[in-house]
Every structure is written in C-alpha cells, then in structure tokens.
C-alpha cells in the first residue's frame, strides 16, 4: 500500500501544528533572536491561526489507508484543543516568563507536542496510531507537570516533583493497563483498524481487554477511581499549565474513549455502558463531595473537575447521537469554563495569592472585573442559567433522561446543588469577605486577553448555545453510525 500527498489533506491542521512546533523550537534555539515571551506569544498565535484556519480548511476524508479519518467529528475536537491550547499558551506567557525564564521555549514546544497528539486522537482509526498519539499527548504532560521545579513561591518547587511523579506513576500504570487491554483487543479482533474491531466475536477476554482499556483511559479523564493524581498534580503544577491539563487531555481522553467505544464497539454498548455509568456515579459523588472539604482553590477545582467528568460520562453513557453531541457540547463548555477559572486563580496567585480560597477574599472590591469573571466561570461550572455550563448540564440531563437513565439524572441534579455549595464558597470569599490586601490585582496583558477569550466563550455560548450545539450535533452525526437508542439495553 502506498500513500500520496492527498493523504495529508485531512491532516492539514495537524501538520500546520507540527510546523508550528518546529518553528517555536527553532525560534527558541536561536535565543539571541529574542526568546523571552516570544515563544509563548508565537505559540498562542500559531494555535489561534490554526483555530481560525479550521473554519476554512476542508479536512474531511480519510487518509493512510483509513488510519485517519477527518471530518466534522475530528474537527470539533480539534477546535476545542486548539482553543484550549491557545488560551492556555496565552495565559502562560507571563507566568512562564516570570518563573521559568530559562525554560520558556521548551514549555511551549512540549505544550504543542502534547496538543499534536490530541488533535490527532479523535480522527484516529488505527490502534497503533491511537497508542502513539495517546502517548504523544501524555508524555509531555508528565514533564510539564514538573515544570515548577524551580519556582520557590509557596513551596511550588518542593511540590512539583511530587505532583509530577504521582501523575507519572499513575499514568504509566494506566498506560500499561491500556496497552495490555489494547493488545488483547487487537489480538482477538486480528486488526488494528478500529472500524473493524466490532466485527470480532465477543468473548470474555475481549471484554476484559476492552474494559482494561477503558480503565486505563479513565486515568486520562480523571474518573474515579483513577482520579487520585488530579488534585495533587493540580496543586503542584504551574496554574496556567493546570488550566490546560484540566481540560485538553481530559477531553482528549474522551475522544479516545469515544473512538474505541463508540466507533470500535458501538454495536455492543452493553459491554461498556454499565462501566461508564458506574464511573459516572463514582466521579460525580466523590468529586462533588470531596470538593466540599477543600480550602485550596486548585484542589477544589480539581475535585469539581472530577465531578464534571462524571457528567460527561453520563452523557457518554446516554449513547447514541443524542448522548454524543451532548458530550461534545459539554466538553467545549467545560474547556472554556475551566480554563477561565484556573486562569483567574493564576491571576490572583500571580499577584501574591496562594491558591487558597482565602486569597480570593474581597476580590470583588480589589478587581471587580476579575471577580465577575470568576463568578461567571463558577456559575458555569455549577450549571446556572445564561452561562454555557447550564446548557451543558441541561443537554446532558435531557440526553440521559431520553436514554432511560432517569435516576442518574436525579443524582446528577442533586449533586449539582452540592456543587453549587463549594463554588459559592469562592463566590462568598470574593463578594462577602473583606479583602486582606486592598490593592488591585495586577494582571498581565496576555493573561487578561486569555481571560477575555474564555469569558467570551462562556457568555457567548451561554447566551446563544445554538451554533455550538448544532456544531456538536453535526460532529456526533458524522461519527460512524451509532446504535439506535432502542437497542440500548436499559440499565436496571
């Protein structure tokens, strides 16, 4: 089998990203040419450009003998990743410049490398390619998690190796588990083509392989019980990176899960659906409950994120186009919201805060705009009307209800209220507690720009969710024919 230039067409955006990576690398190597924040701004610009280009470039079609499949589905994820990457890169500029002036270029190169892995993932239709892009996404993250190794503020340097190591250890064990499952699935179906996996006759061993894969990917999305690294790593790592870590890889994890489960084994959801439901319940419960007891905003957001993953899993478990488009919408909503929330944390901690809820005290009087931004992000996370998170939760509930998961909807709805409690702890600090330092929070220009973009996403999609939803619906439909809802076994 040979390939031609035409094979690269669906990969235009990814190749552009690769080129961008090389460009940043080159610029960084030539330090005299003016390193500094250039690498960051350049990365952000590259990502933004590719994001914009994604609206004009036709990336549909299949490539490399079906190993890669472009189209609306992949494009939707790509945009989410590019958006997250751009905002995170922009939000990192001042942080990296101030704290890791000697390691700026590497930071962005690794970020872009990880992003490259992600942007490929949703279009992957080949197990080997899946494995490689999954790892390409993952390995740079291990490294970036340790980036704060020299940052002496609030003990970051002491925590960074620990946080990174935890991410790494849980990560490699999960990867090994995934690969072990992958090897079984591959072996029993005799093909690496994901589209043909479903054709294999089902057997307990195949189920075991499949579920081991799910378990391994559960690490990436941070679902309970594969979540434990999340709060520790978030707390230890640099906040702008955490903003990225908290959204993009998780969404990529969902993309990978979707590729394997919905595309590969879409014909027999009964094999994996109960697992997803169980993970969803566990994640929503544990995430929301433990978040209640947090005093560190990053840890709080970490646990809240675990809870959010539970909702996404609920959408996934709703199966069918209804569930999938909901999942897509939720991921986009979650991305812009969580990025924004962490960037506000960065803004506050960059100016003397220590990530504790207490450091948000009186923010509404110190920097009203920042406080309002945080409030909007929190409301969105809590699922309150007129910000995008509300629609996300709403669609999830509708989809889950239609899929016969009424009880899960009730649980989710009640836990959403629990969630509101801890989000409000931050809102309370911002609006009701007098500030300990009266000074305005100084926020870097790049960070401010990143925040504005996030806010625009949260509010824009909150006021007019239809375009985003239609996009998600198109993406979900373009996925390989998913099983009709009727065939879905109702879970008792």
């Amino acid at each position: 089998m040979t390939f031609s230039v035409a094979d690269f067409a669906p990969l235009t955006l990814d190749l552009a990203l690769l080129a961008g990576l090389v460009l940043v690398l080159v610029v960084d190597l030539d330090r005299a040419a003016g390193a500094g924040r250039v690498a960051g701004l350049l990365s952000a610009a590259i990502l933004a450009a590719i994001f914009v280009a994604s609206f004009f470039v036709d990336t549909s079609g299949s490539a490399f003998g079906g190993a890669y499949q472009g189209g609306a589905w992949a494009l939707f994820f790509k945009r989410v990743f590019l958006f997250s990457g751009a905002v995170a890169a922009l939000g990192s500029v001042e942080h990296v410049e101030a704290r890791h002036p000697r390691r700026q270029g590497e930071y962005y190169v690794l970020l872009l490398a990880s992003l490259l892995g992600m942007t490929l993932l949703p279009g992957v239709r080949d197990l080997i390619l899946l494995m490689v892009s999954f790892e390409l996404m993952g390995i740079p993250l291990f490294v970036l998690a340790a980036w704060a190794k020299t940052d002496e503020r609030h003990g970051a340097a002491r925590y960074a190796p620990e946080g990174a190591l935890k991410l790494y250890l849980v990560g490699v064990v999960s990867t090994a588990t995934t690969l072990f499952g992958l090897s079984l699935v591959f072996g029993l179906s005799g093909t690496t083509n994901i589209l043909r996996l479903g054709a294999a006759s089902s057997s307990p061993l195949l189920t075991a392989g499949l579920l081991l894969m799910v378990a391994g990917m559960g690490f990436k999305i941070g679902a309970v019980p594969f979540h434990s690294w999340v709060p520790d790593t978030y707390q230890a790592a640099g906040t702008p990176f955490v903003a990225f870590l908290s959204v993009a890889p998780k969404i990529a994890g969902f993309a990978a899960l979707a590729v394997v489960l919905a595309i590969g084994f879409g014909s027999e959801p009964a094999a994996w659906r109960p697992t997803l439901i169980a993970l969803s319940v566990a994640s929503m419960l544990l995430g929301n409950l433990v978040a209640l007891a947090q005093t560190n905003v990053k840890r709080l957001l970490a646990y809240s994120g675990i809870g959010q993953i539970g909702y996404m899993l609920m959408a996934f478990a709703a199966v069918g186009p209804g569930g999938m488009r909901t999942l897509l919408f939720y991921t986009a909503a979650y991305a812009t919201t969580n990025l924004g929330a962490f960037l506000v944390v960065e803004a506050v901690s960059a100016d003397g805060g220590d990530d504790s809820i207490a450091s948000f005290a009186g923010l509404s009087r110190r920097s009203p705009a920042l406080a309002l931004a945080m409030l909007l992000f929190l409301l969105s996370l809590a699922g309150i009307p007129f910000v995008v998170g509300f629609w996300a939760k709403l669609y999830v509930f509708v989809a889950a209800w239609e899929a016969g998961l009424e009880w899960l909807v009730v649980l989710g709805a009640v836990l959403a209220v629990v969630g509101l409690f801890y989000y409000m702890q931050i809102a309370r600090a911002m609006y009701m507690v007098p500030p300990s330092v009266p000074a305005r929070v100084r926020t870097g220009r790049a960070l401010r720009a990143a925040l504005i973009v996030s806010i625009a996403g949260v509010v824009g999609a909150g006021l007019a969710p239809a375009p985003l939803f239609d996009d998600a619906a198109r993406a979900a439909e373009s996925l390989a024919p998913a099983p009709a809802t009727e065939t879905v076994a109702r879970v008792p």
Partner: protein, 512 residues
C-alpha cells in the same frame, strides 16, 4: 402591545444593565434608574390588566421569540388571568420595594442591579408559556437572593441547643451567609427536582417543544404523573415554604434586607405556589388528584404549625417570616381543594399575602432601622413615636388575620369555602383555626411593639416614616384595602382563568 410582556420582563433587566453605567456615588441617579425600571414594569402590568380582554379570556398578548430551536425552546410570553393578577402584584411590590430601600447605604448600586435582575426573573415566570423559560426565569429569580442576603443581610445569634447542637461547630447559624447559603441550597435542590420533572414531561410528550400549551395538552401516563407530581410539589413547594422545607424562610427573611424580604416573601414565595398550580396541577392533573390529600394535609400543617411557630418567636422578622409560612399554607390549601373557589382563593391569597407581607417587611425594616433591635419584648410604646408605622403595621396585621375589608379576608374566605367544598371538608377547620392563631400573634406583636408605655429612652432614634417610605407604605396599604373592598378588580381575571385550568382536574374527579 405585542411586545408588552417582553417589555415588562426586560425593563428591570435593562434598568439593571443601565445601572452598571451609573457611577456609584450618584446615589440619587442609581435610585431613580431603579425606580424607572420598576415603574415601567408596574405601568406595563397595569396596561396588561387594562388590555386583557376578559370576555375572551385565555392567553393573550402572546409573543414568541425563538431561542433554541433544536430543543424547541422559545421565549414564549403570554398572559392569562392569573398572570395578570400576579404581574400587578409584582409590579406593586417592586415599586414599593425600591422606595422602601431608598435609604440603603452600602454598595447600593450593586444591590439594585441584583434586585432588578431578580425582579425580571419573577416577571418572566409569571408570563412564560414555555416550560423551559419558565424554569429559567425561576432560577434567575432565585439566585440573586444569595448575594442579596449574603452581602446586604444582617446576622443574629441563634442559641446552640437541640439534638443537632453539634452543627454549630460547622455552621454560623443565624449568620447572613449561612442564611443565604441555606436558602440557595434548599431552593436549588427544589429546582433540581423541578428540572427533572420538566425533562420527564418534555420527553414523555415527545413533541420536542417546551411550549406549555403543547405540553399541557399531552396525556401523560398515570404512573408518570404519580411520581412526577410530588417532585414538582416538593420542588416548587420548597420555595413556597411547604413544611418541612420551609426552614430556609425564617432565617432567610430574618437576614435579608428590607426590599429583599419584601420581594422574597411578597413575590418569590408565590412563584413556588404558582408553579405547583400552573405546572403541577394544571399540567399533571392525575398526579394532582392523587396527591391532593397530601398537599392539603401539609398545607393545613403549614397553616397551624406556621402560626404557632410565629407565636413562639421573639424576633420580629421571624414572626413575620413564620406568618408567611402559615399564609402560604393557605395558598397551598386553596390549591389542594381542586375547586374553583379554592383556586380563586389560592391565587387571590398569593396576591393578598404578597401585598400584606410586603407591607409587613417594609415596616419591619423601618422599625429595625430605627430601633436597632428586632427583639419584640424589648420594644414597647413605639406607637407614640411612629404612629404611621403603627397604623400600617396594624393594617397589615388585620389583613393577615383575615379581617373583612382587607384583601386577606377575601382570599381566606374563598380558600376555606373551597376547602369545605373539597373532598376533605375538615381542612377548613384547622385553616380557620390558623386565622385565629394569626390574630393572637399579630395583635400581641402590635401591642408589644407599638402599645404600652414608652418608648424607652434608648430608642431615641425612633421616627415615623419619611418621604419615599411613605410612598411604599401608602401604596401597599391602599392596595390591601382596595382589593379587600372590591376584589373583582383582579378576581375577575383570576376567575376567568381558573375554570379553564381546572377543567382537566374536574373531569378526573367527576365534579360538575
């Protein structure tokens, strides 16, 4: 006229946005803008009342603005007779509320912004004909409460006692933030239940629209109605103070600033009852028929229990808050009767209690502001220093105990007649007993605050109502009497709508 309802809903919101542009220091301008927003809505509400064609009945002034076509969500606004009366109530209370909080000092701009947003939500609920938008507005009406109480509220100490005394270690019971949080969480748990049922209805109807008229026509299976109705009742009921989910109300009202208490007890609690009736009973009639006995019994518990609780309070705001719990029981009792008279009474009671409790809280705010205490036993003889306050307080009290000539009487009379005509005649007896208990605690309160020798020397700041406060008091007081003497002013609207909504229920229970 086509956009009249939209204007009513939007006016407070627009005023809120405009407020953001007004500098905080220009306090008069802040207030004027807020008052303008309230006035436009009030005027609009009156216009709705005058333009509503009673002969034609049904939904009028309909307007629809598409929002999320993929889910069948549109901003469908229309007014029925119930809406007309409740719009008027909201308009009046809002207007009076802005006037009553004129003297607020701290962060007044933000206060009005949140207040107006809340008001927009309330108006929205009453005219929404799209279930989803209904819920959305409901949330908008509930959420600003957190900040309004948390920031501008007041705290008080609650003695540590009882079997659950250990919770004091974790919660600042009686604190304004505690109150705000409790209120928000309890109401949002309710919202979660409502949301669940709304989805169930949406899915079950299978029309891919949230249009209430479409959803209302759908025939929901009995089994679904039987589980869905109590959820709705609990969900909306938590806002209307249904026992035992009323406990946010005393703390919330006690902590809330004046205008917020007015709006909350005066209008917001009605949203709950309105939801139970408009969504629960009208759209899920079988569920309503099955569960009416429970709704009625709990309502009766509310009436008597609330009144007795009020009697046992020493804090002025708690007294009024518990009286709201008791009076909302009357609304729910009227709803549970499933009779035309009872429903008329229930909606009328929403109106009457709204005005009355609005007046109450306005007065409580005045008294608190001047006396710096809410402890009733420590007061006395205030009537001498603040005669107008005493008069209006008495007037509100008389309405709350159902004295003829005030709106409260009309409402209670209809509810009790409805109760007797319902399948559970005995409900009327505890209902009436509750009215008597109200007389006991209200008059006792009046006596303790305003009568007797005094006031003591330490209450040297007592003063009668001033300028805008007069406005609030007179508007509300006059409304109490006008609508008590000539109830047809709004009862005609209510009565035009009730039989129509009650049709499905009556069909089920075989009533004429």
């Amino acid at each position: 006229m086509e956009h009249l309802l939209a204007i009513i809903v939007a006016a407070p919101f627009v005023a809120g946005v405009l407020l953001l542009l007004v500098p905080e220091v220009d306090r008069l301008m802040v207030r004027l803008v807020a008052l303008c927003g309230a006035s436009v809505s009030l005027a609009g509400s009156v216009l709705v009342a005058t333009h509503y064609d009673l002969a034609e009945g049904g939904l009028q002034l309909a307007a629809s603005y598409p929002l999320v076509p993929s889910l069948g969500i549109a901003l469908r606004l229309a007014a029925d007779g119930w809406s007309v009366s409740l719009l008027l109530l909201t308009g009046i209370i809002t207007f009076a509320g802005v006037l009553a909080s004129w003297t607020l000092r701290e962060r007044s701009k933000e206060f009005y912004v949140f207040l107006l947003v809340l008001v927009a939500g309330v108006f929205g609920v009453f005219v929404s004909q799209d279930l989803f938008i209904f819920f959305l507005f409901y949330e908008i009406a509930v959420l600003p409460m957190y900040l309004l109480i948390g920031i501008w509220g007041s705290s008080h100490a609650v003695a540590k006692d009882g079997p659950f005394h250990f919770v004091w270690k974790l919660f600042d019971i009686g604190g304004r933030e505690y109150a705000a949080m409790k209120l928000t969480l309890m109401l949002l748990v309710g919202s979660a239940l409502i949301l669940v049922v709304i989805f169930a209805m949406y899915v079950e109807a299978g029309q891919h629209t949230f249009d209430m008229s479409v959803l209302g026509r759908a025939r929901y299976p009995r089994s679904m109605q039987i589980w869905a109705f109590p959820l709705l009742w609990l969900g909306f009921g938590s806002l209307s103070g249904v026992f035992p989910f009323h406990t946010w109300s005393p703390d919330g009202h006690a902590s809330a600033p004046t205008a917020v208490s007015m709006l909350h007890a005066g209008v917001l609690m009605k949203l709950g009852a309105f939801g139970v009736m408009r969504v629960g009973m009208v759209m899920l009639p079988e569920g309503a028929v099955v569960w009416a006995p429970m709704v009625g019994v709990i309502a009766v518990v509310n009436i008597v229990y609330g009144a007795l609780s009020a009697m046992g309070q020493k804090d002025l705001k708690y007294i009024i808050a518990y009286s709201s719990v008791s009076h909302m029981g009357v609304v729910m009792l009227g709803a549970a009767t499933l009779t035309t008279t009872g429903w008329n009474g229930a909606v009328y009671q929403m109106f009457a209690h709204g005005i009355m409790t609005g007046l109450f809280f306005a007065l409580v705010g005045l008294v608190y502001e001047r006396a710096h205490t809410r402890s009733v036993p420590s007061m006395g003889g205030f009537g001498k220093a603040m005669p107008a306050v005493a008069v209006f307080f008495t007037l509100a009290g008389l309405s709350s105990l159902g004295l003829p000539g005030t709106a409260g009487f009309v409402a209670e009379l209809m509810v009790f007649i409805g109760a007797w005509q319902s399948a559970h005649s005995w409900w009327a007896i505890p209902g009436i007993l509750g009215a008597f208990f109200t007389a006991v605690y209200v008059l006792r309160t009046v006596r303790m605050i305003f009568w007797g020798p005094g006031p003591a020397a330490r209450f040297d700041e007592l003063a009668d109502a001033r300028r805008t406060e007069w406005g609030a008091l007179v508007i509300l007081g006059a409304a109490l009497i006008v609508f008590g003497v000539y109830p047809a002013l709004i009862l005609d609207f209510i009565n035009r709508t009730t039989p129509h909504y009650l049709g499905a229920v009556k069909e089920l229970i075989g009533a004429p």
